[in-house]
Each structure stands twice: as C-alpha cells, then as structure tokens.
Amino acid sequence: MLRRLERSDRLNWSVIEKYLPLYEKATVLTLKIGWLGVLFSVAIGLAVSLIVHYRIPVLRQTAKIYIEIFRNTPLLIQLFFIYFGLPKIGVSFSPEFCGVLGLGLLGGSYMAETFRSGIEAVDKIQYETALSLGMSKAQVMFHIVLPQAITYSTPAFVANIIFLLKETSVFSAISLMDLMFTAKDLIGLYYKTAECLVMLVVFYLLILLPVSVIGSVVERRLSYASFGD
C-alpha cells in the first residue's frame, strides 16, 4: 500500500519537513498518554486478578462485572461517555486525564484476565510444595506463584500492551492532539494526503515496532530464565 502511494504521487519532502514538528509533538503526547494508560491498566489488572484469585467477597463480583463491561464495549464509546457524558452530571476531567482513565479501565479488564489465567496456569501442587517447606501464603505467592505466572502471561501481556498503544488512535475523538488528530487536521486543511499518511504510518511504526520487537525478545528471555529452555 505504502509503496503504491509513494510511486503514484512523489512525496514532497519540504511538506514533510514543515509538518515534522507537529507530528513529533503529537507522538510525544500519544506516547505519554499511551504508556500512562498501560501503567494504570497494569495496576488495575494486578489488583483485580488478585481479588478474583483470593475470592474476596463483594469485590470479586464487582470485579467480574467490571471485566465484562469493559471487555464488551469499544474504547471510543467509553471515552465519549467519560468525556462528553459525565460532565453533565457534574463530573468532568481534562481530555488527557480521560485518555489515561479510559485506556486504563479498558486495559485493566484485559490485564486482569491475562494475570488471572497466568496465576491459574501454575500447578496447585506447586503451592502445596512451597507450603510444605514452611513458607507463608504471601511468600508462596511472591517467590513461587507470581514468577511463574508472569512467564505464562508474558505473550498475552505484550499483546495487550500493543493493543492498548494502538487504541490510542481514537483519542482524537475527544480533541486530544494526537497523531490521528494531526493527520486528519493536515489532510483537511492542506490536501497533502500522501505526505500526511506516510508520516502517520512512520510515526506509529516508531511507537509500536520497538514494543513488538522488544516484546518477542523478552518472551524468549523470560521463558529461558524461568524454565531453562
């Protein structure tokens, strides 16, 4: 697709040079909100998965409902509700905060499922063995279960991060000046479609390709460190 774009309409480098700073700014914003959202989602996911694992009453049911709701609705709709809907009942946030909140809540529901299945993948008799060595429940969780659970859930964890960083592309809908916003704006204003789209793709590649590459390296390393193969 890209190659066809380039051939049919030779890129105007001066246009690219002119708009570059705008894209750089937008990328920084996208990265900032994206990674803050990822951090937030990891925190929510860990908390929720432990609540479900330890079967804490009331909280556990709440967690299940939360997971179902956020896994079954699009981020865009969640953002519209948070950003445009909630202020009408007196709850309003800045667009940046909405972005982080929306991404965190969405990602939290995915991370929770990932961590939960990672914890479940650790054999029950591993707990018992650790207990039989006199470890406390917290020690068992910390030294035996979590390290193994992390390895089991790494592939899904990396996929979640990539998914969340991709989802940042809807932020323009709540007037965040992210990459999509910048591209759409410039296309609308100056009709430099090819240049704008190419830069959009390049900057998204810059954001996501490293995550994808580092992710697969980490998967391999962790699996070696954890299981020796």
């Binding site: 697709m1 774009l5 049919s8 309409d9 179902e68 709701i69 896994r71 079954n72 609705t73 699009p74 865009l76 709709i77 969640q78 519209f80 509700f81 445009f84 809907g85 909630l86 202020p87 009408k88 009942i89 990539i162 991709k166 989802e167 940042t168 592309s169 809807v170 323009s172 809908a173 999509m180 591209a183 759409k184 296309i187 009709y191 479609t193 090819a194 789209l197 959009l200 793709v201 998204y204 590649l205 996501l208 390709l209 995550v211 994808s212």
Partner: protein, 225 residues
Amino acid sequence: MQALGIDVLLKGNNFIRLIDGLCTALRISLVSVIFSIVFGIVFGIVMTYKNTVISVVSRVYLEIVRIMPQMVLLFIVFFGTTRMFGLNLDAELASIIVFTFWGTAEMGDLVRGAVSNIPKHQYESSYALGLNKAQTYFYIVIPQTLRRLIPLSINLVTRMIKTTSLVMMIGVVEALKVTQQIIEANRMTAPNAAFGLYLTVFILYFLACWPISLLASYLEKKWSA
C-alpha cells in the same frame, strides 16, 4: 437536575434512528466477518505450507496488522484512495475493506494455530488404524480444529463489532454519529442529554457484544473438557 436525555431519546424517531445506526455498524461487522472467515481459512491453510516466500510475506502481513491501528488503516484506505486516486470510495466500503484486511490476518493466524496444534500422533495413529488421508482430515483433524477454532472466531466477531465504532471517524453514520446528531439538535432544549444518550449507546454496544462473548466462553469451556 435536568432530564438526562431519556426524554430526548424517546422523542420522535430518535431511538429508531439510534438502533438504525447500530444496525449499520453491525452490518459492516457481519459482512467483514464473513469475508474474513472465508479468506482467513484460505490464508491459514496456505500458511501451514513450509515455503520461505509464503512465510516471509505472511509474517510481514501479520506484523502490519498486529502493530498498525485499524484507524490508521481506515485513513489510508479512505483518504488515500478518495483524495489521491480520485476514486470516490464509499466510507462504508472502505470500512469493510479495512476490517476484512484486518480480520483475514487474525482469522488466518487462528486457523494456522488450530491446524498446527493437532499433535502429529493424531495423524499417525489415524493412519495406523488404516484411515486414509482424506478420512484422517475429515474424521480426526477437522473436528478437532473446529473445536479450537469456533470459540476464537466468535470472539473475533465481538472485536469486529467493537472496532466498527471507529467508522464514524471517516463519516459513516452509525450509532455514535447519530447520537452526536441528536445531541446537537436538542442542545438548546436538553443541554444535559449527552449523559443519557452516550450511556444508551454504551449499553447498546454492551448488549450487542456480551451475549456473543458469553457464547464464546461457554463453547470454549464445553469443548476444552
């Protein structure tokens, strides 16, 4: 506190329009899913062949889909074609093209995974029992593949539906766009309608996706035992 949009929702044919918008989104996802499943099965089977060219091309294709936001793909197809080649591509058609491009990759990966997950012993013991290749596929491989595949492809449907919410960004009039229009039209009389209306879309999307998710996890549990 002023009415939060329920009255606006029930006024005139507003609710019908909203449902109509949702149906547009569902139609786009349904068409894309059907194309994705068909192309995905072909793509998945092609990927099981051990050929360098095939594996390089499919790796690149999968990686593009894995890391490019669907929104970017939508922009490329929609703006790229209309503005650059002068083709006046309908926004709905552009969406279907993008979602099929995306869905085919996902489906293909699922198919490849399901097929190559069948242990070699299953083929061998089937041959050992005297079944021929066609019988082995028909009685042993395909049924086991389907059991792994069906829950996962049902999940793809919900993801497709969720992703269709993006098409409003290229101007398709679906549920979210309709909601915006209704809110805009009633801005003076019901300034707080946004809360109720966006909540309604939220619930509608949930109601569209949740039963499908439940079905997928039910089948997954039932068939994994």
